[in-house]
């Protein structure tokens, strides 16, 4: 297993290098720079700013600086902050929101998926399945404001925006969680249906094992495999933050920065965010691959 992890770590370095190169050239290719604004900045001033942020250096040097020193570089948009500390102050917020959303997604998604798979094509299946279809179709930018109107504006139970009190965390977590719960439910249902039709389940049932113990002892392990492989990238996406949920609820997380950094052409911050996010994805995919070996007896670390 250590060897497996080591090999994957080596691969990741290659992936990160590619990602950083692509990011560098893409952000160079977009028209407009970080210092362009409505009132034209005098050329002399622009030159000074570009020099300060190393934008007058040859490409290879810029690339190396941006890629390897990004945590200590100032952001071009918020020059008194450093990229590293900006990520460090926002990531915990997104991580927390993502963790709650993940809990909501699993707590709602798995049970309703199991339920739907038990009596396929009956009301017990149709109701959760159509609900999860609604969840997938209702994007977060509709779900978020909808929850705000019901729980904040009409019922006055919760704040409409912010991330201060524990109760502020409910609506954003639900908004983000519902969306993923829908996927989890569908994947669980599919995975369970496949497993439940297999011979070993029938054997277990005919031996007199109760349905509950069959589900939890035998079926879930195989039935959840699709959910687990979905969870890798989903978890990375969740904890890296959601642009929509963070802007709708005015949450100081990392998700909205992805979009804003690009519109600001905040070149140092873009590089930092992309590399950080890419590392997260790689890390979570690795976790998933390990988890799958444990869950699926057909796999081993050798291949």
């Amino acid at each position: 297993m250590l060897k497996f992890i080591f090999r994957r770590a080596l691969e990741s370095v290659g992936v990160l290098l590619c990602v950083s190169l692509i990011t560098f050239y893409l952000s160079k290719a977009i028209p407009g720079g970080p210092f362009d604004q409505e009132k034209k900045v005098p050329e002399a001033v622009k030159k000074q700013l570009e020099a300060y942020f190393g934008m007058d250096e040859p490409d290879w040097k810029r690339y190396l600086t941006y890629t390897f020193q990004f945590p200590s570089l100032p952001s071009t948009k918020f020059p008194n902050r450093r990229v590293g500390e900006m990520i460090a102050s926002k990531f915990p917020v997104s991580l927390e929101l993502g963790a709650y959303a993940l809990i909501v997604a699993l707590a709602l998604g798995i049970p309703s998926g199991i339920l739907a798979s038990l009596k396929p094509n009956t009301a017990l299946d149709y109701v959760p399945s159509s609900l999860s279809m609604v969840g997938i179709c209702l994007p977060t930018f509709v779900m978020g404001p909808l929850l705000v109107i019901i729980f904040a504006v009409q019922l006055r139970w919760l704040n409409a925006t912010g991330w201060e009190n524990p109760s502020d965390k409910i609506l954003p977590s639900l908004t983000l969680g519902f969306y993923y719960a829908a996927y989890v439910a569908r994947l669980t249902r599919g995975g369970m249906l496949e497993v439940l039709n297999q011979d070993f389940i029938r054997t277990a049932l005919s031996k007199g094992a109760s349905m509950v113990s069959v589900i939890f002892k035998h079926a879930l392990r195989g039935g959840l495999l699709p959910v687990v492989s979905f969870l890798g990238p989903a978890a990375a996406g969740l904890i890296a933050g959601s642009f929509v949920v963070e802007t709708v609820f005015a949450i100081p997380g990392m998700g909205q920065e992805f979009v804003k950094a690009v519109s600001n052409r905040d070149i140092t911050f873009i590089t930092g965010l992309v590399l950080f996010y890419a590392s997260l994805i790689i890390f979570f995919n690795l976790l998933v691959d390990i988890a799958q070996v444990f869950l699926n007896p057909k796999l081993s670390f050798k291949d």
Binding site: I30, P42, A44, L49, F78, P79, R156, P252, Q256, S263
Partner: protein, 544 residues
């Protein structure tokens, strides 16, 4: 069957738990942030986006203005009602006969929050800082009325003592101007003229580089009515009353919580549920609802800003002034404002908003479809025949699209010509406009100070903001004469003549003057409508 019942019960209990969690904050009456703020004089306010910085020499935006004016005070300040200049750090001043030399007498009780008195040298060092090229201040040109300021920034002068500012002693400051600038005192209210404590700045990095960290909480020191308490990016910036401020008896708020709100619909929800005292920009769709249901919080203030289209005068067919005039004459601005923009904007028939520092433009665009058709025919396009395809560029935004579509339709109806719409992301759009890579382009301009000059000097041949390819020597001369003229009437006469040229050649087509549509809770007192949207914080208080 039993098993299914079991899982049913399990799900049901889960649902109950979730409902209980949701309902928990519902127990008992809830005090909102606004209730709490009203009780202890804390203002919860949003000024739009997250501030880039609160260093007055580095920033260039409007949210930054609102925050910085609570923390730092310049030589003069503003009256909250009509914004006329009142004493700030300077308790009095004199102007020389020729209008070139200003002598400011600083009060002795103006203090930095780190405990030192504000001196004349603080101002000199601050001017030097913003005029140092390596700082990369994008707004340093605001200081160009000062003698040799531009030359120092460009490096043609390297000795700062040649620049027109001098500390006579700790309490007396002399500023010498390049030419008499009648609006000079109101210019001093712009944050670029504000002082910074150089001893503090130097402690936190190179004072002449943009990445300095003196503006972070804990490091910051100011001389304004409030001091910086905390600043969490994208969450909130909190300032509290400063007891060392010389006029702290006037300050009535205990603190102000500035919350960035990227989405105005979220700000609306926060306002309606008592999290904020204001909505900085009321979304267009809500204007009608607020008019009907909450008229007491709705504000529609005139704003010193104009919405207009630039014509690329280097391109066929827009290089012909007759075509540009025809386009400008053929639209009905009132119709656009009433049906599309919908925020009570006054239609703009000139570049300068009416009654701008007592100036109202004489030259006005005549909206006349017949005349427009005739001009178009004279230019060689009778009934729009043979009119080349022209692109109308705007930055991606629903509001701009609606206006562009309306104008496209009106031109097609009235002149039988076709323009194609093209939207670009903000920075791409700026780039296209700058490199004259457009046919017609949407733009907006907010006055930097209340004087017609701020709307007119941008069309001179040397202005970076021109971006139309148009120039006219007579226009250039008039604007130059105006800046040398001391007599306000003669000076405004130069502007009138310049505007006649503008109306005759029409490099730009004004459409409407902006209004600021926002909501403000009625308990916020000491807040007066004005066309610059300046609301000096020390005069504001809460009276529920």
């Amino acid at each position: 069957m039993d098993e299914t019942k079991h899982s049913c019960r399990w799900i049901l209990s889960m649902a109950l738990v979730i409902i209980a969690v949701l309902a928990f904050p519902g127990c008992g009456p809830r005090t909102t942030a606004v209730d709490e703020g009203n009780a202890n004089q804390t203002l919860y306010i949003t000024v739009g986006a997250e501030p880039e910085n609160i260093d007055p020499h580095v920033v260039s935006g409007v949210p930054e203005h609102h925050i910085i004016t609570s923390l730092i005070e310049g030589l003069v300040a503003e009256d909250p009602r009509d914004l006329h200049v009142v004493p700030g750090v300077a308790e009095s001043w004199e102007v020389s006969e020729d209008g070139l030399v200003y002598t400011f007498h600083l009060r002795d009780d103006a203090m930095w929050t780190h405990g030192r008195a504000v001196t004349a040298d603080d101002f000199v060092q601050s001017f030097r800082r913003i005029l140092t090229a390596s700082l990369g201040s994008t707004y340093s040109y605001m200081l160009f009325p000062m003698k040799n300021a531009e030359e120092y920034l460009n490096g043609t002068i390297t000795d700062f003592s040649e620049v027109g500012c001098r500390a006579i002693d700790d309490r007396n400051l002399e500023i010498t101007l390049k030419e008499p600038t009648p609006y000079f005192l109101s210019l001093l209210n712009h944050y670029t003229w504000f002082p910074v404590p150089m001893d503090v700045v130097k402690k936190h990095g190179d004072p002449y580089l943009p990445g300095n960290r003196w503006t972070l909480p804990g490091n910051f020191s100011g001389n304004g009515p409030f001091k910086l308490e905390s600043w969490e990016q994208n969450n909130k910036l909190v300032v509290v009353k400063s007891d060392t401020y010389w006029d702290s008896d006037t300050t009535r708020l205990n603190s102000i919580v500035f919350r960035p709100m990227e989405k105005s619909t979220s700000a609306e929800a926060a306002f309606r549920t008592g999290q904020l005292h204001n909505i900085y920009n009321l979304p267009q769709d809500f204007i009608a609802i607020y008019k009907r249901d909450f008229p007491e919080v709705l504000h529609m203030d005139p704003h010193l800003a104009v919405y207009f289209y630039r014509f690329n005068t280097t391109r066929e067919p827009l290089n012909d002034p007759r075509v540009r005039k025809a386009l400008a004459m053929a639209i009905s601005r009132q119709e656009i404002v009433d049906n599309v923009a919908k925020a009570g904007q006054p239609p703009a028939l000139s570049m300068v908003p009416p009654d701008c520092a007592g100036y109202t433009s004489r030259a006005r665009i005549e909206e006349n479809i017949e005349q427009a058709r005739k001009l178009l025919a004279d230019a060689g396009y009778p009934n729009g025949e043979g009119f080349p395809d022209v692109e109308l560029l705007y930055n991606t935004d629903e509001g701009h699209r609606n206006i562009a579509e309306a104008i496209q339709q009106i031109w097609s109806r009235n002149l039988n010509i076709n323009v194609t719409l093209d939207n670009q992301e903000w920075k791409v759009y700026l780039d296209s406009q700058r490199s004259l890579d457009y046919g017609i382009s949407r733009a907006g301009w907010t006055g930097d100070y209340p004087d017609p000059n701020t709307f007119l000097d941008m069309w001179t041949s040397w202005s970076e903001q021109n971006q139309t390819g148009w120039s006219n020597p007579e226009y250039d001369r008039l604007i130059r004469e105006a800046s040398n003229e001391l007599n306000p009437e003669t000076r405004y006469e130069y502007f009138q003549k310049a505007e006649e040229i503008l109306a005759d050649e029409m490099p730009v087509m004004p459409i409407y003057f902006y209004t600021r549509v926002y909501a403000l809770r009625p308990e916020v007192k000491g807040w007066y409508s004005n066309h610059l949207d300046h609301h000096p914080w020390k005069h504001i208080y809460l009276e529920p």
